[in-house]
Amino acid sequence: MSIETPAPTAAPPRRQARPSDLGSDGPSAGARTLNGVSHGLLVVWAVLVTVPLLWAVLTAFKSDREIFTSPWSLPTEWHFDNFVRAWTTANIGRYFINSTIVVCVAVVLVMLLGAMVAYVLARYEFPGRNAIYYTFVAGMTFPIFLALVPLFFVVQNVGMLGTYHGLILVYTAYALPFTVFFLTSFFRTLPGALVEAAMLDGCSHAGAFFRIMLPLARPGMISVGILNFLGLWNQFLLPLVLMPDDERYVLSQGLAVLAANQGYRSDWSALFAGLVIALLPVLAVYVAFQRRIQDGLAVGAVK
């Protein structure tokens, strides 16, 4: 069950091997069938995932009547005006910039601070370590809306109500539990031998963290960073109470107004158009960073 010292007795690596070499002497016919089946399942899941989303995109081009009367057909007429309406009525453009500022700064901040905490919790023994760890875990488990009113007064007291930096700090603080929780377990899986060697060479604790462990933790950092980005991008309750000024609304507030309106006057098409506008950049961010994950792995220091 141990993973900290990976297979010290393993056979010498055959790095020159290529997949094609192994194809001939490798899997049996049964395994190949299995491979075929599993590939089929991958395709099935991909279809399951994409169809509803494609549907959402198509829906964004339909008229309200069509959404309900023929929900599963192609739009008879492509209504680009839905996007115009979403853009103008929901102020998507301005909110988009607000969201970008707040979320990007908060993600950078939380990744740095979270990694520091997680590293210390994962690799050092000191009094109060478990208490701190579980305090962070507890932070993930408490329903935010119960703390909103006290939080409002805390933020008001430090004079940061309705400001970007106030929201950034609050976002950072509320993303910390998740970040610490995930990165702690990630840092635990990293081999310690490199750090030990570096420390023997006279590297400081902080130096070992910044120069060795942080680069090693890159895949985990990127995954958690993306998840934080998405989580904060869709965060709704915190800005609702802490950003009362609609000049500084974030995107999710704007979308929520659109969504909440659906119960009263249906403008589903604008809602879906707003969704697509909000979704595309997020997807782009993910796709872009997806590459970085692969690159991070290519560094290959983990081996």
Binding site: E4, P6, P13, R14, Q16, A17, P19, L22, G26, P27, N35, S38, H39, L42, W45, A46, L48, V49, T50, F68, P71, V117, Y119, A122, Y124, E125, I132, A138, G139, T141, F142, P143, L146, A147, V154, V158, L169, L176, V180, F181, F182, S185, T189, V195, E196, S204, H205, A206, P219, G220, S223, L230, L255, A256, A259, L275, Y286, V287, I293, K303
Partner: protein, 303 residues
């Protein structure tokens, strides 16, 4: 060395902890205090009533019923989600490489990496709207498909049926979260040393054998972490259910604790009681985290 270690720990923890205590811990502590009062939430009036809210909670059938629904979600959704995610991650990372040092995975694995994650990018509010349409008994895709393949007897009013409403919601949750854990597991699997797999292949181990005796044990930490995090989400589930079945589902068969809590706070004006529910929920979640983390735990802290 020792002195340097503690100074290092303190310097890494100070700023994040300060931020966390001010913006997260202190509002939550005030919420805990509120749970000991009869506060109604909209004026400064409140009386200290000790543990009366908690005493009431013990005998509150509706609370326990909601808790039971959360418990079902807690068991079913993580097992199925993590199972599928593990399977897909294995297919696209480990299985494909068949002992080679190349990290390609099956053909198109990059494509799957991107696509599987899509659902997680969709805000829950929108996901709820989307699947509301999906389950629509008349115009929805699900019944439409069933009719198409001649399975008319299977069609039903999914969200209006006491037996099927909760499983229908579970299916949506699984759809949303598989991609997230797929990314987590893929990152974990890719950080595993290649040598072991090569050795296993040399020893003639098959795909399933390799998975069970090598991959699985080596990513246990990632699985545990994921189980806890998904478990925490299942103990919440507020956003999606509030969109799909805002009134607790047919005969209250899908009401979860967070919805009950929300109702206690905002429609009953009983913030004190709602806070007590929140504290109880928080304790249950922490308990879950501790149990899972302690199970088969080995202390891996070094230095």
């Amino acid at each position: 060395m020792r002195y340097g270690k503690y100074r290092f720990i303190a310097s890494f923890l100070a700023i994040p902890l300060l931020l966390y205590v001010v913006f997260v811990v202190s509002p939550y502590l005030q919420a805990v205090y509120i749970s000991l009062t009869d506060w109604r939430g909209f004026s400064p009036n409140r009386n200290f009533i000790g543990l009366a809210n908690y005493a009431e909670l013990l005998g509150d059938g509706r609370f326990w019923r909601s808790m039971w629904h959360n418990a079902q979600l807690l068991v079913v959704v993580p097992i199925v989600t993590l199972g599928i995610a593990l399977f897909l991650a294995t297919m696209t990372t480990v299985a494909g490489r068949r002992g080679s040092a190349a990290r390609g995975g099956v053909r198109g694995s990059r494509f799957y990496q991107v696509v599987f994650f899509f659902p997680h990018v969709v805000p829950l509010v929108i996901g709820g709207v989307l699947f509301g349409f999906f389950y629509n008994p008349e115009a929805g895709l699900l019944n439409g498909l069933l009719r198409l393949v001649g399975f008319d007897w299977l069609t039903r009013a999914w969200l209006g049926d006491t037996t099927f409403a909760l499983p229908s919601v579970m299916a949506v949750l699984i759809w949303i979260y598989v991609g997230f854990y797929y990314v987590v597991f893929s990152a974990a699997m890719k950080s595993l040393p290649t040598d072991v797999f090569e050795a296993a292949v040399l020893d003639g181990a098959g795909g399933i054998r390799t998975f069970v005796s090598i991959t699985l044990p080596m990513i246990t930490d990632a699985i545990k972490t994921s189980y806890i995090y998904l478990g925490i989400l299942m103990l919440d589930c507020f956003a999606l259910l509030q969109v799909m079945l805002p009134d607790g589902g047919p005969d209250g068969s899908t009401e979860v604790v967070a919805q009950y809590l929300y109702r206690a706070a905002f429609t009953d004006g009983r913030f004190g009681y709602a806070s007590a529910i929140g504290v109880a929920l928080c304790l249950v979640t922490l308990l879950l985290a501790v149990v899972v983390l302690r199970s088969g735990r080995r202390d891996r802290v070094e230095f």
